[in-house]
Symmetry: D3
């Protein structure tokens, strides 16, 4: 049986047909997949602008232009792996805690198959139930985390679960291997001048955005690969790690962020790691009616496919 | 002491200064007020498009053009009553049930003063805690409810509290006087063909949008006044009762709705009723970047001020 | 086997999952259908603003809020008929004549099954190949045509095939039964003052927009039903028949058009006719970033489903 | 010599070529014209949202779709009259009083020819210098004034000249024949409950928007024609006379306004009057990125051409 | 008495409450302040796109996400200084010269207190009256001026006062210490090839944008600090100094500008100077409906607070 | 006779008057020109988003701010050369092959004069007929081609003519001197991993976007000048060569592209070459309602004028 393939532009115009991710069939049984694309349309963990619930739909709509071969890296993910869009998690949009449980259950069922989950968010809350489920199989994971924020608050408005807290919970629950965690692009303003110190105390490497300005991140990624290798790695990419000028359609933008090129360098720099899962979160399409942010997200997800083991 | 007055356009250009509702002072102690404008920036009870959390801010921004005298009705609410913007309820945006409790508590405190609350939503979930609080003072209220939806679902996605359920809860809790309830503008599609029958079974008058097409609602309001008078009345105006062509910035638009003129006729038609509170809900400004929906909402709220007892 | 059903909002939030029309399964074999929803993403027949190629995708995205039961008419199309989204025609976006042939061939194949085609355009050029195919089965059809333009030009820029010529071609080719044709909503400006006379000379009834202003079209539709009954009828609804204030996302808007309510009255007024096919064309979503025009179109298509024979 | 004609859609696609009004030549000497289209790109008389300086450019861009024959009235203005776009007044955007003088001087020079000026605004301040110039030839004029506001303030922020004062100045300066003045569509809120009384005291007929709701204005226009006939008449049409739902791109929108159909009825109802000039003002395109408001304005200007004497 | 503090996100959601700058109290008497945030909503000095009159309101709306601590520099301005939003200047939007006088008078009154003014524009005209007022206290100031334009025209359209002339007027009036002036980011096209020479003749350092491309401006700022130190310094930041891709919501954009990172480096590079006032001008929110330009401006203003003496 | 000059901002405000390119007269006979600005409003060769038909109009509208002198290079193109806007080609928007013939015929007629054509697209299909016409005079040309795509497909959807095929056709037809061709900025995804090899096999230099990241392209252009000099050179600049963050209003955006500064460096780096024609294509204004992409395009076209021989 041949691998699922994106519908080609010479078979159907790109603006035609149903919008699955990259126009994949959308019908493959997860048992027959190596990689499962999943949408998690949750945004009630968001503290400022909502709209990430439409992230998966927006990303799918803009993903239809992306072709199967990577002209820079020569990667051909659909030749190497069986990849398909498996649809969305049925979150409960009125109840954040229930949604977190539903996400975990959905991934538990999905990961009963031997697949790498590639997730379209949704706000960053969703990484917690994904890691809860994934680490049942893999044990604690290393983490490459791109973001404007460290997301290690203890609580937000008194709540333990929200889009600014998942990595503190993940540490507390033993889901991460703290020495193999790097946070890239964090910046801006905080409630205290030591907001990033908790991360460093856990053993994380924290690369503030200022360290990234005006240069290629390819050298940084050499160091990152060295740091996080040696075990399974999860890649969590919050689109707000990038600058608002390249990714305006997001919930909590911060100035002074990474360029989209640096975002690509980070993902390409993960090649060779034992990536066991990845996500792209916090795309809120209504704040970017041009579709550019969703378009960028779709292509970054494609770049993630290109660095998965076996490609 | 003179009544709080909107800052005039000859004292400060309308685009200048801090955007309180109609450029009222925003500093009056509720004990010195007859009417309290309140914002409830909650949208996690929304089932489709979020964004009503920015409703109060959007309405305030567009309210600054509205002048104090009503040229059609000659009403002068700021001459007759002491009215001010009292700010927003600090809802918990990660937890709907907690937010509902917080709203009720906020109104309990506010209503310890002898004020009529005029609320800027927020999604329609908020009417439940407002009614819970208000009816502690007034007893069961009559209701003039403008909406595309009856909002009398038993549950949504299994939840008892959401923006489609408040009036069923209100009936169950005895907050409404069912014979004095009218729902105007309901329409569109449902999960069953008897979705509106529950309302009718309670004794509500249900005026479907089709009954309103192509005509003035002034005659209808004569009947409504007769039906709902004889006790305290609450006016709950969901902006989606109006057609998407006049109110596109909302969460769950439905075609075939009321015109903005009909909306004005409904509010003006409430003159003479014992209005003890009112709200304008479901304005989601991000879906109407022209500001028109918020502008319309601000002016409908002004029309509500004009029909309050004592004006 | 039960009929295909829209995915319910309590099974998956409306913003979740793949966007087929009304969240129908999208997988039913046409042989098992009574009604086939089809998208024709063609816009190279457009003379002014392009963008209708994204019409089917835009309509699908906004159709997900529509529920199965019609609260005004009590119609339940999915109970009565087997209806599904069958995807799009693979038009050739570089060649209009080839696309017209491809559309005819696609419908020929589809109509080998006993289905009523309900089409999402695409510009109005597409009605010609649809009628060519359909009338092979039905013989000449009556026509209820809603539009700002009569679309009966002989040529445009020297071309016989374009979005302003299909109904002249249809007459020439014997696809229409001219005495059973009505054109509603035509208006605005022309190249000659007798632009509408050709239609009248064929026997069409031409109802100019001015005849529709300020009133219900329900009485008109009684006359229309009488005129067009007695044989198979096709319903072709160009969204620009409606006023730009209710349908701004279209290619050639004209002021002074019908209201969305009148649009609904026209469709509901077709109940009882032998409707053998229908379309909704000329939605260009990029000119209405709010999504309102696509939302309106989705709901008008739903209203069409409600008047099909057997519902 | 034949009259100047709009460039036809079969000679150049409508999206091609330089955007003059209706694609007229734009090069005719005013001495050879009966009607001069003029732009006045001034908006520093505006009290709320600026942007009407881009009104003429926006109207020109959207006027290119309008064809020469009026399908409802059968008028053919370009057959009957020599009409061309004569470009814009070089206003001084840093100085309102100097701009007012510049506009008057421009019209003085233009009206040295025997032309009817048809003006694209700009904010409503411009009507004062136009009337100052025009009445040098015609003597005091009757006025058909469509607007949400009476524009008869004595001062705004202490200034005698602004977009809310022109008609008081015009009365003071004897430019109007007060018994032949009608103001249609005024509404909303004011600084005093007698804001409209000054108009009535001068002898104006003031038709508040509420008198227009839900009906055709054709009967009203019969009365208006009777009132304002018997001398030269100026037609001044502020786009905010229409409802924000049909004309969102304007500086000071007010809810409850006229429909675009009513706007057309007013203009068509001026047929037979001795119209000596007309304008369409207050289009601010940036507040309506769809182009709809400018499109509407372009077509209303076309309707004005159709009622000029001699058509 | 503790310093005024921004309302925290755990006390009120960031989308709630009245939008003062950074949600400061907005009520502190200037006599109790070290720093006064001031809005000047003037845009009638603008030569191209208007809209900067909404700059202060737009900046306030987007400033609410900014937290009190600077994660890169560790600055804590609200701990060190008493800072509050003091509202807007009541400019006269119909008269530029009167507005300039009003601004000067407002600052005269404000600066009777010992405060540093931090101004939200408004167009760049406003810097002239601010400098007139400020230098009464400080004597001639050095200037760090970020802009696409030198703003040293003698006249515009014959006027001495406009947004392109303030720094020529400032030199003529002795408000600047010319050897301590630097203009950064100037570029694009001019009316003569020596448009920048006047600046250089006064002793200004002119850093054209091309000198800034592809590199950090931190080294430049070392030189700038050396040049402008030794006396009071004013920082005037026109958002159009940045590239349109990062700041599209402005009146006169020019390609090839600075990045937002370079903008941050310039401001951070002012640390240690005797900054006696600063402004951020030319934000026109309507040209950036995403809010990004206002968001950027709000954060640059925050960065300015971080470099004030005493922080 | 003096050269045609742009209308100055002190003669008419920039928002006033008819929008020709840079407000040039638009009336000069090509026989009296050295450089002819031409618009080609064609977009039916587009495979994804249409809208480039409005490119010429959008570019003209945004070009009005550009002044005659280049402040960086000191170039004064209007002093050195006779340049004017000669209007648009009357393409046939319903027929791509006919349009290609029409474009060639238009240029044949234009190039009967001794002018350099500077073209505003339109989609990239148009470069083929331009080269067909131009090379009749010049013989095969060298090419500096900026683009995200190599545009050397053999066919698209079976068609030989489309916006992805012009340079393969140009090679086949001997219009190019392959050793003097460079393609800069190509990137993203393809249908095969050797999509760029065909170019290289012809002798083209292919500079992938990754080679351009994080640096000035001035050194590259030294090499390019050396490569392509020695004969006539055509410059074809597809705006999608730049990153979507700087040029979102285009038909087929790809992430990871060039900055606008790099775009300027490429054009400025062409100084000294024997440029016989140039174009700027694929601007689709509706996808960038801010006007930024058209503004950028207008200024890049101005930069092209500055490098023409004789400036």
């Amino acid at each position: 049986m041949s691998n699922p393939q994106p519908l080609g532009g010479n078979a159907m115009p790109r603006f035609g047909g149903i919008a699955t991710f990259m126009r994949l069939p959308g019908t493959t049984d997860p048992a027959d997949l190596d990689v499962a694309i999943v949408g998690v349309p949750l945004d009630i963990g968001t503290s400022w602008r909502p709209g990430a619930r439409f992230g998966p739909r927006g990303i799918r709509s803009e993903s239809v232009m992306t072709r199967p071969y990577n002209m820079a890296t020569k990667d051909a993910p659909f030749d190497a792996l069986r990849i398909d869009d498996t649809g969305d998690v049925a979150i409960n949009t009125f109840n954040l805690l229930d949604s977190v449980d539903r996400i975990e259950a959905h991934y538990d069922e999905l990961l009963a198959n031997d697949v790498i989950p590639v997730t379209m968010g949704g706000d960053h809350t969703i990484v917690l139930p994904i890691l809860r489920s994934l680490t049942k199989k893999t044990g604690p994971v290393g983490l490459v985390h791109v973001d404007a924020h460290t997301d290690i608050n203890d609580t937000m408005f008194g709540e333990k679960i929200a889009h600014g807290t998942p990595f503190r919970r993940a540490v507390e629950e033993g889901l991460l291997d703290p020495d193999r965690v790097v946070q890239i692009g964090v910046r801006a303003t905080g409630y205290a001048d030591d907001d990033f110190e908790w991360s460093r105390e856990q053993g994380f490497r924290v690369v503030q955005a200022e360290e990234c300005w005006h240069k290629s991140l390819t050298p940084l990624m050499e160091e990152v690969r060295e740091q996080v290798s040696g075990g399974p790695v999860y890649l969590s990419f919050d689109i707000d790690g990038l600058d608002p000028s390249v990714a305006q359609g997001t919930g909590t933008p911060e100035i002074g962020g990474l360029t989209s090129i640096q975002g690509m360098e980070i993902i390409r720099g993960c090649k060779g790691l034992d990536v066991v899962g990845c996500d792209l979160v916090e795309v809120a399409p209504v704040y970017d009616t041009s579709g550019n942010t969703a378009h960028l997200a779709a292509n970054l997800l494609y770049e993630m496919l290109c660095v998965l083991p076996g490609v």
